[in-house]
């Protein structure tokens, strides 16, 4: 019997999907260790408290709500101090974060503050006696390490999109709390969070990712990819390094070894040859489709399904076909 802590990532007054993933993962961990409670920490500006119910729906027995006007943006020092204090006082077996951009910033600090180790980008976890044993990809996904965490609490950060948020309604009892430090005194202040591109689905969260490469020939032709994405409705658009280096797409869209690591249900590579450093970013996608005019392109070696053809003919045809298919869904 052990209680597990979950950090619920927010942006403004929204709970992010990775936050719910953390709660679900914490729930699974609690079950695996013989049952126990899940306590979720929810930090945000006024209005965040309303999201506590949702967090309860996904398996939190207690939702610690820290609502403060100084938390309109992420505050690393406030989050670190508040999470660490709570984890310490709560005597949790484990604490679950997400390996999102924020999670990468927050979770290691919390761990260091508590004097314990941490494993990020976790694919799966098991309880083995006194240890929590996790799987973690190394060497750009070419090696998988199985790591035993002896520390208590064990701090882990899940890879986004690997645990699907699962409804598992628990009490969701709200506990209102104060931030451990006054946000005004923080030495690191996020003064603005600028939305990029207005409402686009994020690469790490989208069930479908469609990526474009050099084969599209010009930046303008990315419209083809965007049209296909909108036909799917739940797709995000990514790009290869060649294309972001050339400035056709923003850097944050780059999928690859040094860019974003994605693991969607469906990955469609459009006009991408399949350089190793790109494959590293998407090789764990469940289904990979490649469209390229060169039948010898390395991408066909990792694709589950491929079409050899001119992207300018195939993609519009595919877009139409997907729209049709979705209509009857």
């Amino acid at each position: 019997m052990a209680n597990v802590f979950a950090f619920v990532e927010t942006r403004g007054t929204d709970v992010r999907k990775v936050g719910l993933e953390a709660v679900t993962a914490a729930r699974m961990l609690a079950e695996k260790s013989g049952g126990g409670e899940v306590h979720a920490l929810l930090l945000g500006p006024p209005g965040i408290a309303a999201k506590a119910t949702q967090v309860g729906q996904y398996g939190a027995d207690t939702v610690i709500v820290v609502e403060h006007p100084g938390l309109a943006n992420y505050s690393p020092e406030v989050a670190t101090a508040t999470a660490a204090d709570r984890i310490k006082s709560g005597g949790y077996r484990a604490a679950v974060f997400s390996t999102s951009a924020q999670g990468r910033d927050l979770a290691p600090r919390v761990a260091a503050r508590l004097g314990v180790s941490i494993v990020t980008d976790v694919l799966s976890f098991e309880i083995e006696g006194d240890s929590i044993v996790v799987r973690h990809p190394m060497n750009i996904g070419k090696v998988i390490a199985t790591i035993a965490i002896a520390a208590k609490p064990a701090i882990i950060a899940m890879r986004p999109n690997v645990i699907a948020p699962a409804r598992n309604a628990k009490a969701g009892k709200v506990e209102n709390a104060q931030p451990s430090i006054d946000p005004a005194t923080a030495r690191v202040k996020v003064i603005e969070t600028r939305q990029g591109g207005g409402g686009k689905l994020d690469l790490a969260e989208a069930p479908v990712v469609i990526a474009g490469g050099r084969g599209l020939k010009t930046a303008e032709n990315f419209k083809l990819v965007e049209d296909l994405a909108s036909a799917f409705g739940n797709a995000a658009v990514g790009a290869t390094r060649a294309v972001t280096d050339d400035g056709w797409r923003p850097h944050s869209d780059q999928i690859g070894q040094t860019g974003r690591l994605v693991s969607p249900e469906l990955y469609i590579a459009v006009g991408i040859s399949g350089a190793v450093q790109h494959l590293a970013g998407m090789r764990t996608s469940k289904t990979i489709v490649a469209i390229n005019k060169d039948k010898d392109a390395p991408i066909f070696k990792v694709a589950d399904y491929g079409i050899v053809g001119d992207v300018f003919e195939v993609i519009p045809a595919l877009t139409l076909a997907v729209r049709e298919a979705k209509k009857h869904h």
Binding site: I140, A148, V308
Partner: protein, 250 residues
């Protein structure tokens, strides 16, 4: 300004890896090593500040066996001023152990800024920088993609999923560098020669007990071979059918 950069020697990722006979490490035979790209960008960030602020000094620190001196020299040949090797038989697996050893050294340096790379592709954890910051009790901004320092304060940008954060922070601080901040300068021939004469101190690393252990390392299961469904737009109906019925993703 006194600036420190922590760097790591990592293997070239463009190879097929083999698991060592002990099953808990990667076989290093035949691997080629170089400075972690993220750390090279961190060195570049430090050097850019040095170029701007007269009288600045950049110290490069690396933890590990003597081979890491090559990596330190590479940073020195880019223009860093001095190097410190925290000597250890192996680079520890536990990020906290590394962070503790590095911060023990950094604490003594009186640095205005400490740079790390956001992560290294081999261990793929990305934790040492922020952990070290916490141990040093310093403000920390991770994964910066732009940076300005003026009057003892800094402003940085961080990429988020579908958004960007603009962050202000006070100095001294710890920063971890993401791709896109800069392009690492290539060592000039003169720089390579000068690096040989720059001081490189070797000190023993203070290693704490690890709290994580590697039970096993293995290669991921091979993806099942796929197939080319057809050619041109005429193959689209078959692809859609397969995505619906076989892959069940549509």
């Amino acid at each position: 300004m006194k600036i420190a950069v922590c760097v790591k020697r990592v293997p070239d990722m463009d190879v097929r890896f083999r698991i060592g006979v002990d099953n808990v490490s990667v076989d290093e035979a035949g691997l080629k090593f170089d400075i972690n790209d993220f750390d090279a960008w961190a060195v570049e960030a430090a050097l850019k500040l040095k170029d701007k602020v007269a009288g600045s000094e950049v110290t490069v620190i690396s933890l590990g066996p003597d081979v890491v001196q090559e990596t330190i020299r590479k940073a020195l040949s880019m223009g860093a001023d001095r190097g410190i090797q925290l000597k250890a038989d192996k680079v520890p697996f536990d990020g906290l152990v590394i962070a503790k050893a590095l911060s023990a050294e950094l604490k003594t340096g009186g640095y205005d800024l400490v740079f790390f790379g956001k992560m290294s592709p081999d261990s793929s954890n990305g934790v040492v920088g922020p952990m070290a910051a916490e141990l040093l009790g310093l403000p920390c901004v991770t994964a910066i993609s732009s940076l300005e320092i003026a009057d003892g304060k800094g402003t940085a940008k961080r990429e988020l999923e579908g958004a960007q954060e603009i962050v202000e922070f006070s100095l001294p601080a710890v920063l971890t560098v993401d791709e896109g901040l800069n392009a690492a300068r290539l060592p000039s021939l003169k720089g390579i020669m000068a690096a040989k004469k720059k001081p490189l101190e070797v000190k023993p690393a203070q290693l704490a007990e690890p709290q994580v252990t590697v039970r096993k390392m293995e290669l991921p299961p091979e993806r099942k071979a796929g197939r080319v469904v057809g050619e041109g737009a005429s193959a689209v109906p078959e692809l859609v059918r397969l995505l619906q019925t076989e892959a069940k993703v549509l």
